[in-house]
Subunit: 526 residues, 2 copies
């Protein structure tokens, strides 16, 4: 029987909080450090591994974390989610995004529909559509192939799919499997759509309109913007546009679209990259076979996340270490630092995934919690960040835990040997160096040149960022965030915090304001 | 006489810390809120204004902040910097980036050279060069005009210039003054350069190599990468490349470049956007007259920053409010939220500017400080962020102060009217709504739908993001960061925290490692 309890009511949390702290600089020095790198590594799906040697944990703390996982019933709760129980209690919804990539729990039937079969059918529909676009069977009015796909969506309909596209664009070019270039329009700022439209050939562009409800103001506005541009170019918008939406949305049956692909209320926007929200644009860009490989990596990582042993479940372990850093050690933020240019927007996706899921102050019963929940998440690719904000990470007054990601091989297959090493070797050398610089620091008689060390990091390492590796990486963080949500006893699947702004914006546009809201409206000439 | 003292030794800081807190939700409610919006506004250069009505301050706190500014001699220190005193004490250097855009203090002569005249001469050289490129007098081997400019640089040689280019790209297109499209290569990850090179026509591309020292490993590696590509296309690299560097660098007199434009050790990378580091690429992209307008906006903001009255000096006021939030109220991060797609990478620039300048644990004498210094800085454009991390900002357990930026008009001049309002109106309505939602919150009998409010923000507002407005915005944040550095008594102009990683990376590449560093090197197959 699952019971939902606040973190600070758990005996294992009390024991964890009382456990002796690890002196990371000492632990990572000398041969003991090398032994930790060998020992504190967990295999992941997609050929990746999660190495946590440079985290401020030891066997005693790991035992406490295992006890916490057990007492908080984290994998049982994950199992209940996989079985389709109503885990999103606030909105009384199941949480089914994992079914878009596999069947990890029992079959989930809602209103007579097997949900796994439903998601697979939608994928198949998108795959068939993409194949027809690639073959030219579906073409523009002049009978010419579409060459560009433009996703119109915001939030989860933008950040995840965009990050995934960028993650595989160079890989696909190198593999010869880039079928269409993808672009993205998200912001209601008209300069966003204008910029994208000016940079493409609209006559050969296919637009993917993504809105689960069919009512997202930014997305409908940008749809109208794009339709104006298509009409202005003498084109029929309905021949250039598909919809990704729910079956009950106003977009579902509209003749305004060449096709519609469906998701439903059981897939939250920030967890929707493996649904048709990501599937349509990624299948069009790379081909459905590449998208299937991405799903496969995610499914394997989901399976790994079922393991109750934290040393065999990297998402669970990562989650628990994060809770330890946040609640026991009191650190307010986490930086995500991929040493891969292809992951340039992956931190922005994780920022939504994590902060929107766990940035909550009440538990799943609506009661205020007495502890901090989700941290601030930010990051940029290395080595760029080294020449930017790493100064604060090394020598600032706050400790910021770090999450590195690195690959042994690049994607594009182009490199150059300078000063005896390739760019790829330099990239990898830098991430290795940074981990040690953060962990161990360096004494110096000039305090301004001294590094205190004791700044923890983990690294996810793989051979190359392939579709499978990307799927595993995505799933890892989704599951990590959900496990942390279980620890904090919050509902990671609603986002009531976005509602008030929407309501007030409507009042501003209706000129139904007074006081300071009217004053700001006047200031902005609305 | 200037004296450098730690923040916690100042009487005014003690008074500030003891001052009664403001209940922001109450203060911003009703007609009192409207009065604050009208009253708590300071004009800025470039037609902008800084409105701090939704910050948790009142007249008593403002008086304390003024006293703190006076006791800490903030504008005197700024004046000393403008006069060319050795403000970067750790590296024993002057701090002269303001001289690239104006003469705010006395003339600064170093080794017989008037530095203002020197920077102006370099700008003139870059302007003349750009004009010849635009006219075709300087062209490729086939006598054809260059159409694309590609900046090769990292950190300050990348983030600022890239953010400034993106900020004006759509404006320039709309004005008909976009002379060349700009691209940027920064990361040592070879996939970065490969991606850019695959997306351009190298035969018509001019590369701007930016490295002050002429020894930045990433930049020299990417230069070699680009030269390989040019040679591979049968082109002479020396006819496609210019250098921005110091006069003493190995790049300065090389025949490998069509031209060299100079900066010097008195301009830190993160403060170099108005030097030739930004000037070459921006003059090539937009024309030197546009760059001059950008400099003019920055110069006017620099002049404003000399005012000792905090209510007439928005950079100083912004800095002091930030110190109050960081040190008295104890908030660990600040979000920068521009409601302008053109400012999509402005937060990344500010992240470097702020975190690299003030992420320090020792004061300018090398003594540890007993208080927190620079916060984590992150951000994304609105309305995108609303559909992402704003959930945590509204309902998370930590309070994150917010810095909004908004403009009444868009840049591209394209818009669409949907549901009775334009996209631009929707954009502006949203920022007004967010400010009030954060400040006042909303009671609800369902705690999950309740907003506590009391989450402070400021907004910088302008008519349009023009070159002048952008220059003023850039200068505002540079001066804000420097004023905060003075408050914290840190040296905002060095970055010793980046050194250790460089040293260790060299050891990895030389296979001169043991212990955990060797283990990580093996893990990454170096």
């Amino acid at each position: 029987m699952i019971s939902w309890k606040n973190l600070d009511t758990l005996a294992a949390y009390g024991k964890l909080a009382a456990e002796a702290r690890v002196n990371l600089a000492d632990a990572m020095s000398g041969e003991g450090g090398a032994a930790r790198v060998a020992k504190y590594s967990v295999p992941m799906a997609g050929g990746l591994s999660y190495n946590f040697a440079a985290k401020a944990v030891d066997d005693a703390i790991l035992a406490d974390l295992q006890a916490l996982a057990d007492e908080a019933q984290l994998t049982e709760k994950y199992g209940a989610l996989l079985d389709g129980e109503i885990i999103n209690t606030g909105e009384k919804r199941r949480v089914l995004h994992q079914l878009t990539r596999g069947q990890q729990g029992g079959s989930v039937v809602v209103d007579g529909v097997d949900k796994r079969a439903f998601y697979v059918a939608q994928q198949k529909k998108a795959a068939d559509f993409a194949a027809k676009v690639h073959s030219g069977e579906i073409a523009n009015a002049a009978g010419e192939k579409f060459t560009t796909v433009v996703q119109i969506g915001i939030g989860g309909s933008d950040l995840g799919p965009r990050a995934m596209y960028l993650a595989l664009e160079q890989w696909a070019k190198q593999q010869g499997t880039l079928k269409m270039e993808a672009r993205f329009i998200s912001n209601v700022d008209p300069d966003d759509a204008a910029s994208v439209l000016k940079s493409i050939d609209v006559a050969h562009a296919l637009f993917v309109l993504v809105s689960k409800s069919g009512t997202t103001l930014e997305t409908l506005t940008n749809e109208a913007f794009v339709k104006d541009a298509l009409k202005g170019a003498g084109l029929d918008p309905s021949k250039h546009m598909v919809a990704v939406t729910s079956e009950t949305s106003p977009l579902a049956k509209s003749s305004d679209y060449l096709a519609a692909f469906f998701m439903d209320d059981f897939i939250g926007g920030r967890y929707s990259s493996t649904s048709c929200v990501g599937g349509a644009v990624l299948s069009l860009a790379f081909g459905a076979d590449v998208f299937a490989r991405f799903l496969d990596g995610a499914a394997k990582a989901d399976a790994t996340a079922k393991n109750a042993d934290i040393l065999k479940n990297p998402a669970l372990l990562d989650a628990l270490i994060g809770v330890y850093e946040r609640n026991v050690l009191g650190w307010p933020a986490t930086a995500v630092l991929p040493y891969s240019q292809a992951l340039s927007r992956f931190p922005a996706h994780l920022q939504q995934l994590d902060m929107e899921s766990n940035g909550k102050s009440v538990n799943r019963f609506g009661e205020p919690v007495n502890y901090v929940t989700g941290p601030v998440i930010f990051g940029e690719p290395g080595t760029n960040g080294q020449h930017s904000f790493y100064q604060l990470l090394h020598q600032g007054t706050d400790i910021i835990p770090l999450q590195f990601v690195g690959f042994r091989e690049n994607q594009a297959g182009m490199d150059v040997d300078i000063q005896g090493s390739t760019s790829q070797q330099k990239l990898c050398a830098n991430v290795a160096a940074q981990i040690m610089a953060f962990a161990c620091g360096k004494a110096d008689e000039n305090p301004n040149k001294a590094f205190a060390g004791g700044r923890p990091s983990s690294i996810i390492v793989g051979d190359q960022l392939t579709p499978e590796a990307l799927g595993a990486l995505l799933s890892h963080f989704e599951n990590k965030v959900m496990f942390q949500g279980f620890c904090w006893n919050v509902n990671s699947f609603d986002q009531e915090g976005v509602q008030l702004g929407k309501v007030l914006a409507k009042r501003v546009l209706a000129h139904d304001t007074d006081g300071a809201l009217k004053a700001y409206s006047d200031l902005l000439n609305i």
